[in-house]
């Protein structure tokens, strides 16, 4: 199953996501972040990555909201009318606003993280002038966790073959005993692998500051370039409107 975003130039959804995050933070609270969150989730479901993005968002937003409400209840204002451990209405609204802003940002950027292949994104960014070293850094960072997991699986397999017990039924003592056998090759592997990777890049004519081309350049049709202009104009409009409102409120106050 391919993600619906695959037919776009990755720069376009990235521009959209950045604009949505900024709008969620500068727009009126809490309705703007709520609307951005709903829009981001709708895009995620339309792109067939809805459940993953929702799970990622919930993982951050729900604990944040609960924590903020608990903090408000645990440490009420001196002038507060409600009892300790009872959340106030204002505190709950504030917690909701903060959580919604965070949720909107996570969902909008989550669409990019889950739905856009990192190598495709870096290729598109490289075509717009991103240096080779920066593109490599992005890919290496995104691949670091799955790489380490693969290496760990290999090490675990090798040590299980030597009688190291792993998994269910292994007590704390057993796990501690197994730790050096697992951590040793993993750490050494990380060091040697970074040396090998540098050698591999060197052997393939990689120059950190040189321009790279692509086997399959990512198309950037006029319609998408227009869409990005509209996104940036809309964002500028929202920011101008909010600045005008802010300036207006200052005038009234004085």
């Amino acid at each position: 199953m391919t993600c619906g975003l695959a037919r776009w130039n990755p720069i376009t959804p990235l521009a959209g996501a950045i604009a949505m995050v900024l709008v969620a933070f500068v727009g009126p609270q809490p309705w703007t972040p709520a609307a951005v969150l709903a829009t981001a989730l709708a895009i995620a479901f339309a792109s067939r990555i809805g459940w993953k993005v929702s799970a990622l968002t919930a993982l951050v937003v729900v604990p944040t909201f609960v924590l903020l409400v608990l903090l408000d209840a645990a440490f009420p204002d001196a002038a507060a009318e409600h009892a300790r451990w009872i959340p106030s209405r204002a505190g709950t609204v504030d917690a909701l606003a903060i959580s919604l802003r965070l949720g909107a940002a996570i969902a909008a950027l989550g669409v990019i993280v889950v739905g856009v292949a990192p190598r495709r994104l870096t290729r598109a960014l490289a075509a717009r002038g991103l240096p080779s070293w920066a593109a490599y850094l992005v890919i290496a960072s995104l691949e670091a966790v799955p790489d380490a997991r693969r290496r760990a699986d290999d090490v675990i397999d090798a040590q299980r073959c030597r009688g190291v017990a792993m998994g269910k039924g292994t007590g704390v003592r057993g796990r501690l005993r197994a730790l050096p056998a697992l951590a040793g090759p993993l750490i050494v592997g990380l060091v040697t692998e970074s040396e090998e990777r540098a050698l591999a890049l060197d052997a393939r004519a990689f120059e950190p500051r040189a321009k790279r081309t692509a086997l399959e350049p990512i198309a950037d049709p006029a319609s998408e370039r227009r869409a990005r202009r509209v996104i940036w104009l809309a964002l500028a409009g929202v920011i101008a409107w909010r600045l005008w409102e802010f300036a207006h409120s200052l005038t009234i106050a004085t």
């Binding site: 190598r119 290496a140 299980r160 030597r162």
Partner: protein, 488 residues
């Protein structure tokens, strides 16, 4: 020593007085010229300085790999890069910049900032030359060792450099693939590419190289025509052995279905795979007590998966596995390790101790089997590491690390031992140590060797079991490597 070929266009001209790592001399007094359309082979024992020579020739030393070089290395034909390099361990070749094989192969031409149409042409040509076109859309890290080696070769070829340097490029290729590979190198030579190839496979060097350089202890021992240098009896360097040919290879009685004791390993109707991919399908085989058997077959045929399934690392979807009188099918891996041992292709995944001895003791001590230290010392002696007990495993050359991993498995005294490509990178001396280890295992139970090294299989094993697309397709004698290379 100065080489001929100056009349022609030189792709490499190196004059090395000393190359050292942290003050430790790895190579000295080497002069080497390679002209366009010439293949030069490099042979030598483990630690002779072959890989250092190859890395220096490719211009990689002193950049990513810190080393002090006293001398000059020139690439008169230029190029960016002036040389393409194929590493001994094909996973080292991967940059991870590409998601598919095709994208990984394209990394070099992309770095050369070529137009996309030229990148496409280079990638298609390189994949075809390396016989890897069918792998184009696969994910590199999901490939078998042999498949990865083809991708590594294609990645280097795509650079279209005037000099191609290869460090043991056929170690994980099946014999037919190695013969195809030799043909591809010949056609590259004919198109004007200069080639430097480091190999332990003397038959391949003899069939391929225009001249060879024999290294010993970091210096040149001899140079000349391959059969003159490698075919001497007794050999110039006993650690390297001598060239075999069909004529001088003694005919051996293959023991198929005779002399073997009771069945020690029974695999009945075994099926296994990864996700939706079925690798083994209703495979059955028996290995008798006292037998040493080679599992051979093409890259990706399912040999390593069979070993991993017997070990319990890959769950059996159907069928039973028995070792001796014990049905191990449902035993967890760490309990199976009492009767079955497996040594992987890459020993670095398991080495962690501070000394060679501690590493060898770890298995028997964890499994609480016998006298751990005595067993470990005995196993180290057998694989030729006696006297190096106090050394750090990380300081050993990769072929010695591989032998340490074998000693470590041997010390646990499993009834059935499986070795995955144990001879990769080993010189004749190393191979004889591995053969001794297998002879010891023969008395303790039985063993299987996954190998593409058919000469070793003929020397060390009773018979070959050919695995083809997840089935046992043949039991008996297979062609020797010389048969493949002599077809040219």
């Amino acid at each position: 020593m100065s080489d001929a070929g100056t009349a022609r266009q030189l792709a490499l001209s190196m004059r090395i007085r000393v190359i050292a790592y942290d003050g430790r001399v790895a190579l000295r007094d080497v002069a080497l010229d390679i002209a366009r359309g010439e293949i030069v082979g490099v042979a030598g024992h483990v630690g002779a300085g072959k890989s250092t020579l190859a890395l220096a020739a490719a211009g990689l030393l002193g950049r990513s790999l810190p080393a002090s070089i006293d001398g000059t290395i020139a690439h008169p034909l230029g190029g960016r890069p002036p040389a393409a390099f194929v590493f001994a361990n094909p996973s080292t070749q991967l940059t991870e910049l590409g998601e598919t094989v095709e994208e990984e192969v394209a990394v070099g031409p992309e770095n050369q900032a070529l137009p996309s149409s030229e990148i496409r042409a280079r990638v298609d040509r390189a994949l075809a030359l390396a016989d890897a076109a069918r792998l184009a859309q696969r994910v590199p890290r999901e490939l078998s060792g042999g498949e990865l080696q083809r991708v590594a070769l294609a990645s280097a070829l795509a650079l279209d450099a005037p000099l191609l340097v290869l460090d043991e490029p056929t170690a994980q290729l099946d014999p037919e693939a190695a013969a195809d590979f030799a043909r591809a190198l010949r056609s590259l030579r004919d198109s004007g590419v200069a080639i430097l190839i480091v190999e332990q496979n003397l038959e391949l060097l003899a069939a391929l190289a225009d001249r060879v350089l024999l290294l010993a202890g970091g210096a040149v021992l001899a140079t000349g025509a391959p059969r003159d240098v490698l075919g001497r009896s007794p050999p110039l360097d006993p650690r390297l052995g001598t060239l075999r040919s069909v004529a001088n290879t003694p005919t051996k009685e293959w023991r198929v279905g005779k002399e073997a004791g009771d069945a020690l390993l029974r695999v009945d109707d075994l099926s296994a795979g990864y996700g939706a991919r079925v690798v083994l399908e209703h495979l059955s085989l028996t290995i008798g007590a006292g037998e040493v058997v080679a599992w051979v077959g093409k890259n990706g045929a399912g040999k390593s998966t069979l070993a991993r399934t017997i070990m319990g690392l890959v769950p059996a979807r159907a069928g039973r596995i028995g070792v001796g009188h014990v049905d191990v099918t449902d035993l967890p891996v760490h309990e199976r390790a009492r009767v079955v041992g497996l040594v992987f292709q890459d020993p670095r995944r398991q080495l962690f101790s501070r000394t060679v001895l501690e590493e060898a003791i770890f298995g028997p001590r964890t499994l609480v089997v016998g006298h751990a230290e005595a067993q470990a010392r005995e196993a180290l002696d057998v694989v030729g590491l006696g006297g190096r007990e106090r050394e750090h495993p990380g300081d050993l050359a990769p072929p010695l690390q591989r032998r340490l991993a074998i000693a470590s498995a041997l010390a646990s005294r499993p009834k059935f031992l499986m070795l995955d490509e144990p001879t990769a990178g080993q010189d004749a001396e190393g191979r004889s140590f591995i053969r001794a280890a297998l002879e010891l295992q023969r008395f303790r139970g039985a063993a299987a060797v996954i190998t593409h090294d058919l000469n070793f299989a003929q020397d060390a094993c009773d018979h070959n079991v050919t695995i083809d697309r997840g089935h046992v397709s043949n039991i008996g004698r297979n062609s020797r490597e010389t048969d493949f290379f002599d077809r040219e």
